[in-house]
Symmetry: C2
């Protein structure tokens, strides 16, 4: 690995003592940035994702303009269902649409898990290009959707308040569901390893809909595949798991080979530390809507959040993606407050 | 109070020893029932809500056809914003739309909190009629939306994935937000007391969007008003609070004057008992999507749920409203499994 000028994120994942935590924001390359909006007006979503130069440019915007401590490659979790052979449509401003959903064993058998590195070569080119353009200023994060979350879209075909079709599939055809989850897991492991080879310094797995599952169903449907991915990929690079809404699984997940766990804003730093026995790096968990509050309030609450988590084994982030309607100076206030934090001048509780 | 033939629900709320828990389902009067669909084809939503004979007929359907241990009056939480003077539109199959949202102090001042019993007299007539038609077979539940959840709709104007406009309102104009929350609280207390006078044996307060709030924001924005309502209304009848997603508040809420707490399916019975120190009746928390599973699996998991909660201080229910696509015989399997449960033949853990 080359020498990163700012390796705070990697050091936080190793559990090193730091005077302030690293900071990045989920969806930091996105619609709240005027320069992103300009590109969005010219190029449709999949053109932006599939053109390495555009994906690179978008990935760098928040590094240059907001000053985050890491870049996360601009892409989408649904490139995996695409690579497996499914049609994925995306209308700007609306959610994704997969017109031919998975229903039967034949549908699952037809999914292709081979050669993901080739099939998603545009992601690899975007990572290589971004790695070069970053010139070791900050680490580069790769990512993928978790198997349960991808199953949700592949079976439901679109966003849902309850993902009850996806759940019904799992409850009524459990063997087939596990076969599908395993196929997604296999390709995701290949995909994340390829991302590391192409330049990602670490990866994050987004289980955006895991909180829809009861603790028992999470353990049956989501957890085993997250563990498989963490075990396989952590040999190559640190892995952060983000099981949104699944606070109940934090204790279990803290004992896996993951280097970090992402948290949403439903739990206090103190409880998160307690549930994970202070044994793993935690990332989060500012309510994205709170970036709409006045800047002094953002600054106050960000400082309180860091006081709560401490500067060791902690990565400051939001509890979910940044909202499109957040003013850029509010996003900057979030980032600046973390960067100005110094454990010397604060009550550190962890 | 007249002599109820089946008063299991009231006895569960008093904490009495029972051989099996009472059972009802949120949204039990609704779209999964063919007879409801028939009425829905003839009368639009607000006609069904505002015509006491129709509301009564719909309320009785699940008692007669599914055998639940309680009736819950057919109505909507948005009758309160309506009674306060706001326009509420509802397109069948879509969510609600409030075209003139609350933005300013003048908007809040213009809201009317007087004479709710008169303004919502159709709810009172529906309760009186239903109480008579029930002929004391089972208790009748009244309900209202919680102040935070109603604020969400009144400020956002419609459903939302993040309710960030509602939160922004609270974060940027906290005094005005609290004034609005207090106005909603005042009218809700009047409304629930009137429902009890008209025949409701107990009431439930639905805080459907409370889980969107961080623990600190819940404590500031949602909890004080839930507590006010519980304190005022519990003098007249037992109050169940259902703060969906706010598992983090269960300990605090277990120490209020509420008689019961509703739970979603994100936590195990064991943890819920632990968080509430076994001091309050708990209600829930079957994943509504699990009613799409095969009947033997429903039966098995319902039994396990009761084993987990025990038959004392427990009301069997779903963790959220029943889904429209649940087959009626699956809903019946849920109810029947609870009714066939006997603590004598089972391992009761509580």
């Amino acid at each position: 690995m080359s020498e990163l000028k700012n390796d705070l994120l990697l050091r936080a994942l190793k559990g090193e003592e730091l005077s302030r935590p690293p900071v990045w924001m989920m969806r930091q390359a996105g619609r709240y940035l005027p320069d992103y909006i300009k590109l969005r007006e010219k190029y449709d979503f999949f053109t932006r994702v599939e053109t390495p130069e555009l994906a690179c440019e978008i990935t760098l915007q928040p590094v240059d303009q907001v000053g985050v401590d890491a870049a996360i490659i601009f892409s989408d979790i649904l490139v995996i269902p695409q690579a497996m052979g499914m049609t994925v449509l995306l209308e700007e401003g609306k959610g994704p649409l997969l017109p031919n959903v998975i229903k039967t064993a034949d549908d699952v058998d037809a999914l292709n898990t081979a050669n993901v590195e080739e099939r998603l070569s545009y992601v690899m080119r975007a990572l290589e290009l971004t790695k070069r353009e970053l010139n070791d200023r900050v680490p580069l994060i790769g990512f993928a959707g978790a198997p349960w979350t991808l199953l949700c879209y592949m079976v439901e075909g679109k966003g849902s308040k309850s993902f009850d079709k996806a759940k019904q599939f799992c409850f009524t055809q459990p063997e087939l569901a596990h076969k599908l989850l395993q196929k997604i897991t296999d390709i995701t492991i290949q995909y994340l390893k390829a991302q590391v080879k192409a330049g990602a310094d670490l990866v994050q797995v987004f289980d955006s809909w895991s909180g829809m599952l009861s603790p028992a169903d999470f353990k049956a449907i989501a957890q085993p595949y997250l563990v498989q991915i963490a075990d396989a990929v952590s040999k190559d690079a640190p892995v952060i798991l983000f099981p949104k809404g699944s606070w109940y699984a934090l204790s279990d997940l803290s004992k896996t080979s993951a280097a970090g766990l992402g948290l949403d804003w439903s739990l206090t730093p103190q409880l998160a530390r307690q549930m994970t026995n202070n044994s793993i790096t935690l990332q989060g968990n500012f309510d994205p809507s709170k970036l709409l509050a006045p800047i002094p309030q953002i600054r106050k609450e960000v400082k309180e959040m860091i006081d709560g988590f401490g500067t060791k084994k902690y990565i400051a982030n939001l509890g979910h993606g940044i909202l499109p309607n957040v003013p850029v100076d509010h996003a900057r206030a979030f980032v600046d407050t973390v960067k100005e934090y110094s454990s010397v001048n604060n009550n550190v509780t962890a």
